[in-house]
């Protein structure tokens, strides 16, 4: 190229010194099990966690938290804390009252929703155990926690409100002045009364979705600093972009003066999709003290104050004809909001509203959800967010319907599900499922599971009266993810859009920098996005680096949650690559003295159609950098941005089968075999997909068997440590058998559907169905989660739990 254009000295040196990259035309990265780029720093301990940050003069913050579920604060005196060594300042809620604003909720699901003020630090009243009431700022973290005990604070107890049904009764003590009902949200389609009138079969159940603690392994941490003009906030968050705009609103710091950085983040599962009290308060402290401040929560503090998940009471009934065809479904939910509405608290159960019908056809559907305030930690997104609850209810009911009619649970599903030739299919809940093949996934799962053989063994054990019974649980699930079409989110009163943004920068040496608006915290975007770019631009996988999580680098994004990153953000990356190629085509045409219309991109080079002469994409990038000889009116850059907003959600689906052995004498359960066949559409990296399924299964199974956040009668959380809140260890879980079917999504050019939550959504009902199936001969038709040995044993004794 140096002969053909005057590239200039720097460009010539790059070209002549072998710095210029070459295309990688023959590799197909998309679909390959590429080992992850992220791993190198993670396995050698060179990771950048927020708590690693140490800055000159940095101060440490510790929070005093309410020991009462509900009380008026009658007196606070922080002055004694100041006499402790190393204490720089101490404040209570009153000190922040004028500037702390209210923590945001961006999802007012109804017009008349009750959305109480939510001060980051309580001023007059506390409404859950753990609410921040004061803080101290010290020169080291030990000194900060020492001084907390010197703070004097008096409370006047108010009645705790802990049970949703009681909370809604006339005369119940109130969490907020406006009452305990936050909203009632309804959806109805078809004639539900007709569906239930004279229905040959009606199955009714009440399911408890217990309260869960998401428990990302990295506790939250926040570092805030200011130079007197602008602010930088490092936080262990999934949502740096959302955080920036929300914190600007709450604190009044102008958006362009606030940089938010999510460095390496150790898991989230929805729990770091939040605007937290601590993030707001650390910014205010940095502003007030002019020094960098850091706060890192302890696990016990986190169990109390990281938003919780689930906590719904599901009253559900299903009407069917004598052959097991569903006629109608009625859902009446109580959803525990906790003490306040946080970022998307009210929207979580509503996301489930569109999924109670599952993969099935029916004539009528009626859904009501009542959001209820209690004096507990607020709930919000936790892996699956609304869809696990819905999937649990319908998949449990399908097994109950089968039992009622003495049908095989697979058979009852076959009679009701949408057949593969019926796609696209608009469901009773108004969603248009674009693609899927439930028959294929189910057939594959049945074969892998050895379904008939296990059923034979089950019959044999029943006949023999074996104290260890075998149960088989089915879950043929779908979910909606890839949040989301902005238009649809708007119609659901969600506060923002669901698009995603990407930039692709072509560097002079032909290397590629990709900036994504997604914010990975374990999902492997650096690897997967590199695969997409490598194929789109025919560049080597290793020539691509992916930047994310810093609003100074990635100014625009909607972050990572709701299995949206690949489906929305990955597609934005692909579209930005298309724009790069389009720009490059014009410069290449000029270099080749041809018309742009005659230029095609193949094998990493722009060629004049029908000839061999061409320019690699890297040569074009270098020419654009040199810019000594570009066509008139063409800007000297290939860099391109794209923002993608899909037309529809995506709908992964699959069939999960679980075999459990239940010891009827001890109540102990053991998962003997778990088969998951998932259809997540096209796959960019099968290794990462399998990993996501594994992790999702572990969390869904843990809801079925182990986990529960327990409050006592006074509203104290009893499960504040990992000794009390039972996270599964390696010895609690089996090896999983996973496989896939592939029905491409039609709503995006990659054909992808999202996989982050599928395993969690599918597995909880599969496990509980298996336990109930094992115990049917004992007259059991439900076991409340988590299905602990005690609950299972009681069910065996009493025929119910």
């Amino acid at each position: 190229m140096t002969e053909e254009i005057d590239a200039g000295f720097v460009a010539r040196q790059i070209a002549e010194s072998d710095m210029l990259s070459e295309p990688a035309p023959d590799r197909h990265e998309v679909g390959a099990a590429r080992r992850r780029k992220e791993d190198a720093r993670l396995i050698t301990g060179r990771t950048q966690w927020t708590d690693n940050i140490q800055l000159p003069g940095m101060l440490y913050v510790a929070f005093l938290r309410s020991p009462m579920a509900h009380a008026r604060i009658t007196r606070v005196d922080t002055s004694a804390a100041l006499h402790h060594p190393g204490i720089v300042a101490a404040f209570s809620g009153r000190d922040f009252a004028g500037e702390q604003g209210s923590l945001p909720c961006v999802w007012p699901v109804t017009e008349d929703i009750v959305m109480p003020d939510h001060p980051p630090m309580a001023v007059d009243e506390v409404r859950y155990v753990g609410e921040a009431v004061a803080c101290v700022i010290a020169t080291d973290r030990y000194k900060a926690s020492d001084a907390l005990e010197a703070i004097e604070i008096d409370y006047e107890p108010l009645p705790a409100v802990l049970d949703m049904t009681e909370a809604l009764k006339e005369g119940s003590p109130k969490v907020h002045e406006a009452g305990n009902r936050s909203f009632v949200w309804k959806f109805a389609q078809g004639d539900i009364d007709a569906a239930f009138r004279d229905a040959p079969v009606v199955v009714e159940r009440t399911f408890v979705q217990q309260r869960l603690i998401p428990t990302a392994m990295e506790p939250r941490a926040v570092v805030a600093q200011t130079d007197g003009d602008s602010f930088t906030l490092h936080s262990s968050t999934q949502v740096p972009h959302i955080l920036r705009i929300m914190l600007a609103q709450v604190t009044g710091i102008p958006e362009h003066k606030l940089r938010v950085v999510a460095p390496d983040v150790g898991g989230g599962f929805g729990s770091k999709l939040q605007v937290t009290a601590e993030e707001v308060l650390l910014l205010l402290l940095a502003r007030r003290l002019g020094k960098p401040v850091k706060w890192t929560e302890s696990r016990s503090e986190g169990n109390l104050t990281v938003h919780h998940g689930r906590d719904q009471l599901q009253r559900i009934s299903l009407a069917a004809d004598a052959e097991g065809h569903i006629r109608g479904l009625r859902v009446d939910l109580l959803a525990d909001m906790g003490a306040y509405l946080m970022l998307v608290t009210p929207g979580i159960p509503i996301l489930g509203a569109f999924m109670y019908n599952g993969i099935y056809k029916m004539d009528a559907y009626d859904f009501t959800c009542t959001g209820v305030f209690t004096t507990k930690m607020p709930t919000d997104a936790y892996r699956g967010a609304g869809r696990p609850e819905a999937t649990f209810a319908i998949e449990r009911l399908m097994d109950e319907l089968a039992a009622e009619l003495s049908l095989d649970p697979i058979e009852v599903r076959r009679r009701n599900w949408i057949a593969h030739e019926e796609f696209p299919y608009t469901t009773i809940a108004g969603m248009t499922y674009d693609s899927g093949n439930y028959e294929a996934a189910t057939d594959k799962a049945l074969a892998l599971f050895g379904y008939d053989k296990l059923r034979a063994e089950q019959a044999d054990r029943r006949d023999r009266g074996d104290p260890v019974q075998l149960g088989i649980g089915v879950s043929t699930f779908t979910e909606m993810c890839g949040l989301a079409p902005s238009r649809v989110l708007g119609s659901l009163s969600y506060g923002a859009g669901g698009w995603e943004h990407a930039s692709v920068r072509m560097l002079p040496t032909g290397k590629v920098e990709v900036i994504t608006g997604t914010s990975p915290h374990g999902q492997g975007h650096e690897t997967a996005w590199s695969q997409i770019v490598a194929d789109a631009l025919s560049v080597p996988f290793d020539d691509v680096s992916v930047l994310h999580g810093d609003t100074a680098i990635s100014h625009k994004g909607m972050d990572t949650y709701g299995s949206r990153s690949l489906v929305v953000g990955g597609v934005a990356v692909l579209q930005a690559c298309d724009k790069v190629k389009e720009k490059a085509r014009h410069i290449a045409a000029h270099m080749l003295e041809a018309s742009a219309d005659d230029i095609e991109f193949a094998g990493g080079s722009f060629k004049v159609r029908g000839t061999e002469s061409g320019r690699t994409i890297q040569e074009v990038a270098l020419a654009a950098f040199a810019a000594h000889d570009l066509p008139q009116g063409v800007e000297p850059s290939l860099d391109s941005d794209a923002t993608f907003d899909p037309d529809n959600f995506s709908f992964p689906h699959g069939t999960h089968l679980c075999a459990v052995e239940v010891d009827t004498e001890t109540g102990g359960t053991k998962i003997r075999l778990y088969v998951a066949v998932d259809d997540v559409g096209k796959v960019v990296n099968p290794m990462i997909v399998e990993g996501q399924v594994h992790g999702g299964l572990a969390q869904g199974i843990a809801q079925a068997l182990f986990e529960e956040a327990v409050y006592d009668a006074e509203g104290n959380l009893l499960t504040t440590t990992m000794a009390d809140y039972l996270l599964p260890s390696a010895s609690d879980l089996p090896d999983f058998v996973t496989d896939r079917t592939e029905t491409p999504a039609t709503s995006n050019p990659l054909g992808v559907k999202g996989v982050g939550e599928a395993g969690t959504i599918a597995s909880t009902p599969a496990v509980v169905n298996a336990i109930v199936d094992a115990l049917r001969p004992y007259g059991v038709n439900d076991v409340t989660m988590p299905c602990s040995p005690e609950r299972v044993w009681r069910a065996v004794q009493g025929g119910t739990s």
């Binding site: 690693n52 140490q54 392994m217 996501q692 992790g695 260890s729 010895s731």
Partner: protein, 161 residues
């Protein structure tokens, strides 16, 4: 304050410490060894696992003063700029990490596990790692990685002997 001498990843440090200072805080806050993270405050998660005189310990459950005179190896010293330890390589190959927060502790615990049982069964691995929690992976790939790591470590030993 107590004066202690402790060797961490091959470097010897003399430090004045409060008797209550936890080893993990000494490592992270004083010595800049931030490769070892903290996941809990009750000794349950194992994220903070390091080797002390060749035996794995949870560094949140050890006082800095107890490390006086000891030789501590953290994830940062495991390969120290050289080629990765076979267990690190195995975690990479088997995709045994997602967010990676549990990974330093998990790798140290896995290496320790192999000392007693160089060729552990799947069940032995699952039991041996009971004290190390991972919220991301569902453990399948961790178990595979430990088996792979065990194989390459014994192959290395054969070559070395």
């Amino acid at each position: 304050m107590t004066r202690i001498t402790v060797t961490v990843d091959g470097v010897t440090y003399q430090e004045e410490v409060e008797p209550r200072l936890l080893l993990v805080h000494l490592l992270r806050d004083r010595l800049g060894k931030t490769g070892t993270p903290i996941g809990c405050d009750t000794g349950n998660c194992g994220a903070c696992t390091v080797m002390m005189d060749g035996v794995s310990v949870k560094s949140c459950s050890v006082l800095a003063v107890q490390a006086d005179g000891e030789d501590v190896l953290t994830i940062e010293g495991l390969s120290a700029g050289g080629p990765w330890h076979p267990m690190q390589q195995a975690f990479h190959e088997e995709h045994a990490l997602q967010c990676g927060y549990c990974t330093p502790g998990m790798i140290m615990a896995a290496i320790d596990l192999l000392k007693d049982d160089p060729d552990p069964s799947e069940d032995a691995i699952r039991e041996g790692l009971e004290g190390n929690l991972c919220r991301c992976t569902g453990y399948c790939n961790i178990v595979r990685a430990v088996r792979r790591g065990a194989q390459s470590m014994s192959a290395q030993e054969v070559t070395a002997s």
